[in-house]
Amino acid sequence: MRWVREHLVLLLGIVVLVYTFVPIFIVVLMSFNDPASRNVYRFDGFTLDNWTGFCDAEGMCAALGRSLAIGGLSTLVATVLGTLMAFALVRHDFRGRSATNLLIFLPMAAPEIVLGSSLLALFVASGFAGQLGFWTILIAHIMFCLSFVVVTVRARLAGMDDTLEQAAMDLYATPAQTFWRVTFPLVFPGILGAALLAFSLSFDDFIITNLNAGTTTTFPMYVWGANQRGVPMQVNAVGTLMFVISVSIVVLGELGNRRRRNALT
């Protein structure tokens, strides 16, 4: 009893943490569910069908492929543009710095429904309402991923000690050599983290996408639509897979960091 009193905060913290995992447990469990009917949210029996017949759910894999393509492309563009901006903000001096910072902050602060509806208003006003689809989704995703890339890379750059770069310069490295052999490798983990974040933001977005997609369907939109018709259990297999893959990436990254740190000391 005394132990409980002394560790009350720790126990409560662990309870909150466990609570955040309850829905994940359900998603994993349901990926092995053999449902008795189409619209039942209940575990009826164990099966591997959802994993072996991954693409049997009509339209799911097409939507999944589209989400992967949009996620990949928007990550690529947002990461390149955002990294350039982060370098400009940390390493270069220019007029309008605070206005630029505000412009980067606002898309992260605005509610998604407002971001989505303002883009839709633009597309409608400029006569692109008929072209809503893959490209308009891509434009929207690059827009909201960009800010997150900038702040992630900027944090890494700002927290970086630049004595190594100065040492390289002192040893007669040209600016290009210094950049590619010293600066870039040091910033790279930040860029990689930003890209992963951008991908997961894009892959998971529903509200903005739904406003700018027209009749095109992404994976979150597929799940949304399926909720009305009865959710195929395969979507839980996708959820489980997403969880396993991204947690593995984080764990591998952490292990890599630890090994590098150990090698240095």
């Binding site: 998603v27 898309p107 602060a109 429904i113 944090a155 970086m160 004595t163 933001l201 998971d204 799940v223």
Partner: protein
């Protein structure tokens, strides 16, 4: 953008990049004639690096806002097919607010309650990670973000199963006499607030952790040396020092919670809509662009005002 947990708080609590180590004054690189002493270079390269991203944000973020404002002032007599006329019809705002004031107030209410619960739960978790986790600190931080890697929609659908009428939670509450025999959770405001609380909790935990982790534990020890009991010590030392985290966590939770409608549609009742779903359906289903745009603008202005008032009263300018 539902899974914005990882980095958003960093953005908000991020110190001015110029004040980071390595860009302090007195560092002369020697190889950099344009250096102004802040470690930053002047010249055209900066603008060139900035330009592509800035253009994207101007064309697809600033101009859309102008477009939204314009749309909110169109003549409501127009339609998707015949086109709209710009008439500076300010009455759109009044009409939209009076027609949809219930969902608007409901969204603000749900958002406020969810944010408050998040603050309590998030504080416990962030405090545990910052002060009690020891060598498990990094692992616990990863665990806070981990649920985010599964789709927002799928996690919300799971709550549908957890809160179902024949589910474990409802039967336990009925057993404890906390819920009547014909009581239910699904399709009630309780379920919506529970969903919002769950989905936006990490947005609260991460900024709270960032500011709690910066507190020097010796300050808390000092308070107990001066005969403050733990509760007094908490309210006189820890809580005030964690206020920047409380402010940014509250904003990061409240803003997306008010605009969200996924939780309301999946877990709530269709008769109790939130403003997000009204805007969505006015735009997409009703094609009533002026009214939808006016509602969007109202939501944006409300949130900007709240952010400014909150930041001023709490005395933190760190947000920008």
């Amino acid at each position: 953008m539902s899974s914005t947990a990882g980095v958003a708080p960093v953005a908000v609590t991020d110190p001015d990049p110029g004040s980071g180590p390595g860009s302090g004054p007195g560092v002369d690189t020697g190889a950099d004639p344009g250096s102004d002493g802040s470690g930053r270079r002047r010249g055209r390269v900066g603008y060139l690096l900035l330009l592509p991203g800035l253009l994207w944000l101007i064309v697809f973020f600033v101009i859309p806002f102008y477009s939204l404002l314009a749309t909110s002032l169109y003549d409501p007599a127009g339609s998707d097919f015949r086109g709209y006329d710009m008439t500076y019809h300010w009455a759109n705002y009044w009409d939209a607010i009076s027609e949809f004031k219930v969902p608007l107030l409901r969204s603000l209410g749900y958002g406020a309650i969810a944010t408050l619960i998040c603050l309590v739960l998030g504080y416990v978790l962030a405090y545990t990670i910052a002060f009690k986790a020891g060598r498990w600190k990094n692992l616990m931080l990863v665990l806070v973000i981990a649920p985010f890697f599964t789709s927002f929609l799928l996690r919300t659908l799971s709550w549908k199963l957890i809160l179902a009428d024949d589910g474990f939670v409802v039967s336990t509450l009925q057993f404890l006499q906390l819920l009547g025999d014909d009581g239910r959770l699904l399709a009630t405001p309780v379920a919506v607030v529970a969903g919002l609380t769950y989905n936006f909790l990490p947005f609260m935990v991460l900024p709270l952790f960032a500011s709690l982790d910066k507190i020097d534990p010796r300050l808390i020890e000092a308070s107990s040396d001066l005969y403050a009991n733990p509760v007094v010590g908490f309210f006189k030392v820890t809580w005030p020092l964690s206020l920047p985290g409380v402010v940014s966590g509250t904003l990061l939770t409240f803003i997306p919670a008010v605009g969200d409608y996924i939780n309301q549609v999946l877990l709530g009742s269709p008769n109790q809509r939130m403003i997000g779903s009204v805007i969505q359906s006015q735009f997409v289903d009703a094609n009533n662009y002026p009214s939808a745009a006016a509602l969007s603008m109202v939501l944006m202005v409300l949130i900007v005002v709240m952010v400014l008032v909150y930041v001023r009263r709490a005395g933190t300018e760190e947000l920008l």
